[in-house]
Amino acid sequence: MRALTAALAATLVLAACGSSGSTPDTTMPAVTHRIVSLSPTATEMLYAIGAGDQVVAVDSLSTYPTEVADKVTMMSAYEPSVEAIIGYTPDVVLISNDMNKITEQLQSISSQKITVWTGAAAATLDDVYKQITELGALTGHDKDASTLIESMKSRIAKATEKVSAPMSAQSYFYELDNTLYSVTSNTFVGALLKPFGFTNIADGVEVGNDYPQLNAEAIVKANPSVVFLADTKCCATNTAEVAKRPGWAGIDAVKNGHVVELDDDVASRWGPRVVDLVEQFAAAIAAASK
């Protein structure tokens, strides 16, 4: 939180300097940075607001969009090495959490001033919009950021309005990996699915256990109308494999063809592609409600 405040303050100062003495220049960004991103989500956000050219290096998992390919390094988003980061002489470093006191280390070691921006895992869509706005301000792409947010909001509104009445009698199962870990409605993804009105079969576990491992019997018994597979990349699950699992052939989602294969990366990040995810949810729920 302190890092975030510091980053915001720095941004305000920078923005103030950039626009001093004249009206804000809208054609050219007031500032250009050398950004190292250790957050795949932040990388996606930067490219989506057109700030990709300020990126000098990203972590090993920041593989989207394709333009970032030649900037992908072996740097780990989980255990970032301060020396490796400084090697790219950045003035802005983006992280998703400050596990290893990376902020403190960066600021104490480097002679150059480094702004560390932390974009923690979003809990709501508002968090996503807030992070995009902040990155817009940081990179001088405020306008692109607000355009992006507007388009995201309108696409999400469109996707959610398609599904009319709440159908709490029907339920869904959201699979995180092939050992049946799932999410409750208290998670970011669970919250995205909530407006569609289907019951999440993982709800009802003990409070705080928001990524529970579900019991195979309980899933068959709950008979979900839709199954979302957020483990197609990690664990190579697919519709055919799911149908072959013992007891699953009788589940409505399998019988009626409402097993939805998601992209793990899209489903586990909170970047601009979250809209694609919501649209996939909407299509699946609409199909299952018929």
């Binding site: 072996m74 990996d177 529970p212 019991n215 195979a216 019997e217 990690c234 190579a236 007891g247």
Partner: protein, 345 residues
């Protein structure tokens, strides 16, 4: 109490305990039919019996396809870890030894990590899933290395150096695994979910996969139960009695490792069972391996079946990890036995 008279009843009693746990394991679950309908349906499925149990096809598929393989696998894993633990403790004459001692677990973990990091998505759809195979191979290789490095010493020294070699090989395999994970941080979650004990995703395929190895290992170990009793007197004395100590040790270690590696390959690491069950059995029936091995086998199976039940019903519809339950149930149970036996003396 007359020990001789009582000992005749231990094996049938443990067998009954196992039968009851099997039935209980099949009856209790978070979903499926009401518990008392399951035994009726089982009766109904026997030849010459016809009982109306009121089970729906869904209920039956939950019991037969999801719950039954899990119960059977729990029995296999529990019995194998217990008998392997008891045998290891016998050949090393060390009460603190568990079946993972010589590096089986670390080797299997490294094998699994290699498969997952190289290309999990490509391999899981193969006709024969290479993951348990390579985990199994990794476990065996680790123990082989331990044995080659650790048996240069003679006699009494050799069992100590073997244990030390096991510690070193375990560290080496763990280090290699950590290094791989560091370079492939996207699979960390999958590897850990593999390593942490799990019976939750058991299928009949898993049972079929491990059964041949487990049966072979169990038979070999049971055949050596008298020799393990002789080893208790010490290597030199056992040699004087005509036992080829190093051969017995080698065969027992190979058999126990084979069984352990195969169950680790399908269920990950389930701690506590291999060390606590044999000791609990010793406290109750005495130290003779002629009883300790078969009773550990039966009792270990019953213990893990029972330990797995709370895991699936406590936080319905979620799972509670099996390792948590074995420790929670096992530790107080063990302390209880320890205390009551002390008082009797």
């Amino acid at each position: 109490m007359n020990k001789r008279g009582a000992s005749r009843w231990w094996i049938p009693a443990a067998g009954m305990a196992l039968a009851c746990s099997l039935l209980l394991g099949l009856m209790i679950g978070p979903a499926g039919p009401t518990w008392w309908r399951v035994p009726l349906e089982l009766l109904n499925r026997l030849p010459f019996f016809s009982v109306h149990s009121g089970l729906t096809p869904t209920d039956w598929s939950i019991v037969s396809q999801i719950r039954a393989p899990r119960v059977v696998l729990a029995a296999i894993v529990g019995s194998t870890l217990s008998i392997a633990g008891a045998s290891y403790q016998g050949v090393f004459r060390n009460p603190l030894v568990d079946p993972y001692l010589l590096g089986v677990a670390a080797g299997a973990g490294l094998g699994a990590t290699i498969v997952i990091t190289i290309n999990r998505s490509g391999t899981s759809s193969w006709i024969i899933d290479p993951l348990p195979m390579i985990a199994f191979g990794g476990g065996l290789i680790a123990v082989l290395v331990t044995y080659l490095v650790g048996t240069t010493g003679k006699g009494e020294r050799s069992s100590t150096s073997l244990v030390l070699a096991g510690v070193a090989v375990t560290s080496l395999a763990t280090a290699a695994q950590t290094f791989l994970l560091q370079r492939n941080s996207d699979v960390v979650r999958q590897v850990y979910s593999w390593i942490l004990g799990r019976l939750s995703s058991a299928t009949w395929g898993d049972v079929r996969l491990v059964l041949p190895y487990v049966v072979f290992s169990t038979v070999v170990l049971l055949l050596h139960r008298r020799l393990l009793d002789v080893l208790r007197v010490g290597d030199e004395e056992a040699t004087a009695l005509g036992v080829n100590v190093s051969r017995v040790r080698l065969v027992v270690v190979i058999a126990a490792t084979l069984g352990t590696a195969s169950v680790v390959a399908v269920s990950g690491l389930i701690g506590f069972v291999g060390i606590i069950v044999p000791h609990a059995v010793r406290l109750v029936v005495g130290t003779s391996y002629r009883l300790v091995l078969p009773i550990s086998l039966l009792f270990g199976a019953a213990f893990l079946i029972l330990a797995d039940i709370p895991g699936r019903v406590l936080d319905n519809p979620a799972e509670t990890p099996i390792g948590v339950v074995t420790a929670f149930l096992g530790a107080p149970f063990f302390l209880l036995i320890l205390r009551t036996r002390k008082n009797e003396r």
